[in-house]
Symmetry: D2
Subunit: 373 residues, 4 copies
């Protein structure tokens, strides 16, 4: 059987990560390698150059040609947020399987439109939430499911980076609501909300507070102050459907944090903590030791944990961020072949979006806001 | 000049810590040692035994006799929370200086009554918030004041312990509102709120959520389930008077945490983090290094930090929790001698109480609740 | 230009890592991808199966056919240690470029034979020491070269794993001198010695002590005790050529350590520490801060560090062990194209072997043993 | 019963620590407090001033008067190393119990002279090795004794500080052999050797290497270079009496380390690690968890560990360096009352000294040197 043929749109940070993952996934998992068929970028030239660098067979400066191309089985969308909707809808119309980066759209309304189109058309779909592919995050989920920390009774989640901490960092599309949607909430918070959904269950109620520390940034064209239209920091209290409470803290201006996505899951019989900056570690506290010998254990990722062994048979040697994308590519290939779990699909992308909007509404109105069921 | 003569009421956990501190403070700081004059406990016998063990000159089974004793200059209140009010008011009436453990009272109303009595009587007063005496916490404050992390734009505070995590832990006075006031909020959260006041400024608005994971606990008399009347966990969003936002997470059932009082202070030019479980460390991120060589620095407590040198001339050798009480005793002695900063005084105890009540009100009503000015 | 065509011998742990790296290196670095031309394994069937799984064009059960194959430019040797010599010599005779895993051979004598053959034949050659490809290790070297920690005056090196800690772990070829050469010293210590050579300069004198904690292990065929012929642990004092002293500690039975390759480099103006289990971190102490604000900084790998940006433009997101092999593959491609640094070449493999032998001699004889120049 | 009456000689770093401990020990342990009877310093005035600051009843500028004073039961020697011998011998002749700081003397010969005098006179004696009083170090020892990590098969010990790292740090008595004896080995290494004796058993053979990075330092009188007569760094391989091998690394110029006394104890069933800079933690690895959930546990000091509860009933609140001296004072009081373990006595001080001398001899001669039995 020939591998699925990918058409990749976008060659920035995340587009390159997709390309690297598509190259490696066959060898890592010993499965049929996908075909890097067609690459679209903003111009014919830049697309051709990227195709050479990233190892794609063909290239185009016209993403619509890519969507229409009969040699493309999967449309893989790695463009800035505001382009997701139009491209996803076009790909759905063309009957392609669609793999889209997070956040799915800029508003819950747009996300719902995409979900409904995909479900109506019956096309397979997937959102690229890479952090939940981490073997240690998956192991955390299994531990929770098996009751390893008892009943979950609390959650702390944070995602801290500092890529916009410097007030001299210029204004970019990320600062404009029509292009980026929310700020830190969309870029970083979407991962965190997805992690709660992955580890526990959907978020049902929120009480949030947004903060824009730098209301203007220098326009890269002329250096003049230009308004920032979304938040630098989001904080929230939340509850899941069954009533598990928690906190969120999400920032793009938290000095010193580079990929500070982390959580603590509190249970009636133990605690789990994780931090992506030490992505090969999971800290676990349980009572299973005599008094005087209890303490948080630092578990190092190894072949006992999901998917690790495909990368390395020896424990503790360490996976990297791109390896998470390789696992995700495997998940996408399985899902698009009708095997395995299609989650996180577009509907999950929509659910995440609704939680984000509820936080924004709570910020505006005060008090608890329910996430529509 | 003779040292101040202390009358200590209460010989439990914190009473012993006071006694140890009173013995050491003179030698550590090279100042006039206070006199361990009189000790009160619940019976004549237990008081006599404790006085021998803790090195007090005299003892009594009647705390009112202690308050009235002419050889006592300072009444030092280390009893369970619900006794603070009556004892403090009596000591104030007797014109004594009063040193009271946190929380000052079980309600903001009672706390205000004590404050007003003390201020009307003109007696000196102090609340025992020991964690802010830590040289590294004081250093954090100085760094913040000096602009070492720029303008403060966010705060994360948590205080996690697990002393009531086991559902089999029996019901105690800590579970009864009339004896303990709030639960985790009063016992642990009071320290955290005080830390915000110490490091930044008063908390002005809160939005909170309380949680009682174990609504009943076995009565120690007969093992039958007895209702727990206060919260195991408190979470809140808050803002200070000038609008700095933050989060609180406070738990007495957080598995694996033993003295997990910590904070992160986010500034426009850096970040500070602290955790009492590693109380001799402060983590600091600033930009003062070339790219590629930036990162959180782990500062080890040393003689460059406030008060450390009184304990040890060599850096990194480590202070302990009881040393914080020694610093506090020095602060009390100074303050009661009319030197140095009388803060945290009873009024601060009252302010902390009001923040706690505002969190409780927000839990009940939803939405933001302002702390009365 | 077509990519170099690789013939890979061996499909175990490290052979798969080579295959994964060869697939990814073109896309990661935007260079001409090497061709996965031919795969040799012990039988025709296993080779065919591995070729499918790992994405090689052709396969063979006869490694000598691979060496002779005119479509193969590079012979990539990933077999157990005792096979390196014969295969490398054959590849050299065939005029191929040779890429061989560490350790180069089982004795210094064999290693020298290989070096001399390669140098006489003028074929390009490279040894697979992957840990020194780590961006943080390379950054450490640059810092040292630039005088960032002053003059180097001491070194601590360790490599701790526990893969043979359980006495029930069966006897394997790793326990037999004729197959594996030394024990922990060859498998793990070779990396550590190479790291000293990379970071500082060649080791010149050693004083060593070997230890075999489990002198027999169960034979996998019949469970009967079978003698272990090499060491579980090696410890040594050493000096480099210019007189920098240091210590080595190398163990395959150190409970809890999974990839505990680490070092501390002490300089007259600072200290650097690294541990592969936290491979994305480098800890650096220098005096460049005011008193009271000095401490070890934890540098997180990012695009400011060598080669990181090829994998990810965002700092702190984390590389993994397989990414080090991708960097190594890039180094091999450059080196075999006559560009870039051919080091670590076979001669370095030989130098490492001599240090290992000197440690063994010192163990036997006591006292300092010089490494022949 | 009245408390033992102490005569303290020396009021520097360690003398103050003794005074603080003597003040606190009665209250902490609920035992008869020792009496701070007499303090000797170099002049009448400085002694009087120190006595006031440290809370001693009387003072003298003549240590021989202190030794002869009939109100003094215990002579407590906290002076620079080279004075220990004369003072200890005088105190022994006076029939006093003698409590002397480490190292006992400047040479093994002198140490033996003191031991023989004390044993001949039958006076009680004790050496002040404070780090082994740490509840976590004691717990480590208990775990080892109980077989918690199986049979011990290796040890790594280090003691790193940086108090002389700056070449501008002036010459002091610590640099002169006749005053200080060895350098880092005596000041720091003595603790480490004692820790091996405490945790395992006596060191029997060593192979060592000394290093003086700064052979001259500025004379504080005139700034001119003055020779440093002892080592900045000592490294050694060692074996205990039963053949457990290990390494030592001891430095007074290791940048960034402030109290870096640490060890790893490797056993056949687990590993223990400790570092004094995080003195309230012990890291323990054992197999007692399912695969996938194994890892180093961080044990936080608490009332389950020896002596902790005397300071604080709540776990994780943290002891400090001065608390170790309080435990030591309790040990001394017990031992001088004929109760409890008199170890580490002067004979242990002598054994430590012999190991230090063996390391020096090995440095000079090369090869293994046995420590005389």
């Amino acid at each position: 059987m020939a591998g699925l043929r990918f058409g990749l749109i976008g060659t920035g940070f995340i587009g390159r990560a997709h390309a690297i993952a598509l190259k490696a996934v066959g060898t890592v998992f010993g499965i049929e390698a996908p075909v890097c068929e067609l690459l679209a970028d903003t111009t014919t030239d830049s697309a051709a150059q990227a195709a050479r660098a990233l190892g794609f067979r063909r290239s185009t400066g016209d993403w619509q040609a890519l969507v229409a191309d009969p040699q493309v089985d999967v449309v893989d969308i790695c463009t800035p947020n505001h382009l997701h909707r139009e491209m996803a809808l076009a790909a759905i119309r063309a009957g392609k399987s669609v793999y889209c980066e997070k956040p799915l759209a800029n508003t819950a309304g747009e996300a719902l439109e995409i979900v409904q189109a995909a479900e109506a058309a019956g096309v397979r779909n997937h959102v690229g939430f890479n952090y939940i592919r981490n073997p240690m995050v998956r192991h955390a989920r299994e531990l929770i499911r098996q009751g390893g920390i008892g009943d979950v009774c609390g959650f702390r989640g944070y995602y801290l980076e500092d890529y916009m901490r410097d007030p001299a960092t210029p204004w970019s599309w990320r600062c404009q609501r029509s292009l980026a949607g929310a700020g830190a909430l969309a870029d970083l918070g979407s991962h965190l909300i997805n992690a709660v959904h992955f580890l526990l269950e959907p978020v049902a109620r929120v009480q949030g507070k947004l903060q824009t520390v730098y209301p203007v940034r220098p326009d890269p064209r002329d250096g003049r102050p230009r308004p920032v239209e979304n938040e630098d920091v989001a904080r929230a209290l939340f509850e899941t459907g069954s009533g598990i409470p928690g906190t969120f803290e999400i920032s793009r201006i938290a000095g010193g944090y580079k990929c500070g996505l982390g959580f603590a899951v509190f249970g009636t019989r133990g605690t789990l903590t994780f931090d992506q900056e030490r992505m090969n570690e999971l800290r676990l506290y349980t009572d299973g030791s005599p008094p005087g010998e209890r303490g948080f254990r630092t578990l190092l990722a190894g072949p006992e944990h999901p998917d690790y062994a495909a990368f390395c048979p020896a424990p503790g040697h360490g996976l990297g961020i791109n390896d998470l994308k390789v696992i995700e590519a495997r998940d996408v290939l399985r899902s698009f072949a009708g095997e395995g779990d299609p989650w996180p699909d577009f509907r999950e992308g929509y659910r995440v979006q609704r939680v984000m909007e509820a936080i924004e509404q709570s910020h505006a109105a005060g008090g608890w806001v329910s996430v529509p069921a």
